[in-house]
């Protein structure tokens, strides 16, 4: 009887081999501890206010905004894979689709959770829906992210309902079936929403006329960062999915994703990354030579503060841009799993560095002649909340992997039944 209590075998999808529950719990335990500490830190911030952080009036955005921008960029794989599978009918990407949805769900829910701690008055967050300022990029971000999180939840529901125990309930099973048929609609909506909020997250900084390091001119109401953010997000999204899938394969010691699919993802990522690097380079040149000087800022100034020297610009464009783009698309390097994954990691690091530079360096460099370059070190509460979100992601993914058919091939179009 004891084994029945402590065994979760009846929750594991039939025919799937999973490690023993004790090993699984042993794997989860450290993450759970990190998550609990993170929740405690977040609770401190909510109860005592943001004085628990090391942010200040100049560094009004800190680690958390970097985290938000970073994980939302990496989570772009969800909408982009959905777009490729459902809208462009690239069904060879199906095996990675469920992982993409779960990763997207984790990234977006984590980002929204952190945002709720980051704002000083979370109880008033809904004011944006009540009296929005439509000129603000943040309004667009708020609307799109909340809607897209809803979409991701709805995309996650069919996966969840296919868990072994839930599918025993006929109503849920039929609902799952019907919802699954409508998922292409959601994928379309998700694509639209993601396109706008990924862009608006870039626009968030690009419109800051008062921060010439970030300010960009652009097209109509959108600064160039709007488009660069979309490009970099969809370029790094597939790379991140590759990394997640490869990590799962490494941890479980099993293979779920055909090597061919890795290559395919890498190629998509690489081509987009190359496009992004080209766009970013043109944008940087325009900004250095026209936008910034016209506001009275000589561009060398931005790079005169350690550690934000020109090496950062080089790293952003060449080391984490051009190099992985080449490795991902070049036939011979892409054929080697090690090269492919290293390049994917570089691409993800590149997008993270870009978000870091835009959030942190923008605030650190002086604007007024008598400003000084400022430094900011996050407090333990900020770091713990940050780590908590990562732990949350690992836990949700691990649970999803263990109990939900993430990589099950059975749901191919051929075998999926049509109800009518």
């Amino acid at each position: 009887m004891a084994s029945a209590v402590f065994s979760d075998s009846r929750w594991i999808a039939r025919g799937e081999e999973r490690t023993s529950l004790s090993r699984f719990l042993f794997w989860l335990a450290p993450w759970a501890i990190v998550l609990v500490v993170g929740i405690y830190a977040a609770g401190l911030c909510l109860y005592y206010g943001l004085n628990q952080t090391n942010m200040d009036n100049r560094f009004a955005f800190g680690l958390w905004i970097f985290l938000d921008l970073g994980i939302i960029a990496l989570g772009a794989g969800a909408f982009f894979t959905g777009f490729l599978v459902y809208i462009l009918k690239r069904s060879e990407l199906r095996p990675i689709l469920n992982t993409a949805v779960v990763v997207g769900f984790i990234c977006y829910s984590g980002a929204v959770a952190i945002l709720m701690i980051d704002v000083g008055q979370p109880l008033r967050a809904w004011f944006t829906f009540w009296h929005p300022n439509t000129h603000s990029m943040l309004t667009e971000v708020t609307f799109c992210i909340s809607c897209y999180l809803l979409v991701l939840c709805l995309e996650y529901v069919p996966i969840l309902l296919r868990s072994r125990q839930l599918r025993k309930l006929p109503s849920l099973l039929v609902f799952e079936h019907q919802l699954h048929k409508l998922v292409p609609v959601l994928a379309g909506v998700g694509t639209l929403l993601s396109f706008f909020h990924q862009g608006s997250l870039g626009g968030l900084y690009g419109v800051l006329r008062g921060r010439p390091f970030a300010f960009r001119t652009g097209f109509f109401i959108w600064p160039s960062t709007f488009f660069l953010f979309i490009l970099s997000a969809i370029a790094s999204g597939p790379s991140f999915l590759m990394l997640v899938a490869a990590t799962v394969e490494k941890v479980t010691g099993r293979r779920f994703v055909p090597q061919e699919l890795f290559r395919r993802l890498g190629f998509i990522s690489g081509v987009l990354l190359a496009l992004y690097v080209a766009g970013k380079s043109i944008d940087t040149l325009i900004w250095l030579n026209f936008t910034s000087p016209s506001e009275g800022f000589a561009p060398w100034q931005y790079y005169s503060h350690k550690p934000f020297g020109t090496p950062i610009l080089f790293a952003e464009i060449v080391l984490f841009g051009l190099l992985p783009a080449f490795l991902l698309t070049y036939r011979r390097s892409a054929a080697r799993r090690g090269w492919l994954l290293s390049a994917a990691a570089l691409a993800c690091a590149g997008v993270l560095l870009n978000r870091f530079v835009l959030t942190v360096q923008t605030l650190a460099v002086p604007t007024l002649a008598f400003d000084e370059f400022l430094q900011y070190t996050p407090s333990w509460q900020e770091v713990a909340s940050f780590a908590g979100v990562i732990a949350y992601g690992v836990i949700v993914y691990s649970l999803s992997y263990r109990y939900l058919p993430l990589f099950a091939p059975s749901r191919g179009e051929n075998t999926h039944v049509s109800g009518d």
């Binding site: 943001l50 944006t128 300022n133 603000s136 419109v207 006329r209 007024l368 002649a369 000084e372």
Partner: protein, 253 residues
């Protein structure tokens, strides 16, 4: 008749005494929290010390009061606030911050090139009994919202009420003087309606000695500075505007 309230601060007359900061904080019920630092404080009016970067007998220093510049064009903070907690009052040109609507996202703070916006990092509190000394015209801001100079809007409100009570449509300019202007012992701050060409402040703003900080960004701030000294006027531009050789390395505070 819409006004464009603004001010011209004569930096040659500013002795850096800090009376304006005190008067501003007292008028606007800024809590006397002792935990805050230079970077987390609430100083809607902040006097900063600047120098020409030289040492010894050639060194020159000046004081520069920084406050909300009430930008006229493309006001950075107004544009970015997601929920209309900042608005430019069309009748006065005052950039109004409404703490009751603010969710504390601090996007406006990153948008402001003058760092003139402050976040309430702590719950406002006063030593026991001191709440009796709070200015009844100004609401206390709660923790988690952004605040800044509203050009002593409560005083404008009072002046309007007074004008209305006496049946006048326009306020008497003498009735509306922000606390910092009133407090300055050297009269370095000249406040007035910049839209009125005869207003002394408006005339001062047009003098060749007048300048605005980061005017090239193009936000048309309504706070002007003036100085006879060229190195002080050079503060208008960013450090880079002149290249590295001017070395106007300036200490903060």
């Amino acid at each position: 008749m819409s006004a464009r309230y603004g001010m011209v601060i004569d930096l040659d007359r500013c002795t850096g005494c800090g009376s304006c900061m005190m008067a501003c904080a007292a008028e606007n019920n800024v809590p006397p929290l002792q935990q805050a630092t230079v970077r987390t404080g609430l100083t809607p009016m902040l006097v900063r010390k600047v120098s020409n970067g030289l040492e010894g007998a050639a060194r020159r220093e000046a004081f520069i009061p920084i406050m909300c510049m009430h930008c006229e064009h493309d006001t950075p903070c107004v544009k970015v606030c997601p929920q209309q907690a900042v608005e430019v009052d069309k009748a006065t040109g005052i950039v109004m911050q409404m703490p009751q609507r603010c969710l504390g996202c601090r996007y406006c703070m990153t948008a402001c090139p003058y760092h003139a916006r402050y976040f309430n990092w702590w719950d406002p509190s006063w030593p026991a009994g001191m709440e009796k000394s709070l200015n009844p015209g100004v609401a206390v801001r709660m923790r988690g919202v952004v605040e800044k100079c509203n050009l002593c809007h409560a005083r404008l409100h009072e002046a309007k009420e007074k004008a209305a009570a006496t049946g006048k449509r326009e306020i008497d300019p003498a009735d509306y003087v922000p606390a910092c202007v009133e407090a300055c012992p050297t009269g370095a701050i000249r406040f007035g309606n910049l839209a009125d060409r005869n207003d002394p402040a408006s005339q001062d703003a047009r003098s060749p000695e007048a300048f605005r900080l980061l005017a090239r960004i193009g936000t048309e701030p309504k706070v002007y500075y003036k100085s006879k000294e060229a190195w002080v006027r050079a503060l208008a531009e960013s450090k880079s505007g002149h290249g590295p050789e001017t070395g106007s390395e300036v200490q903060h505070g």
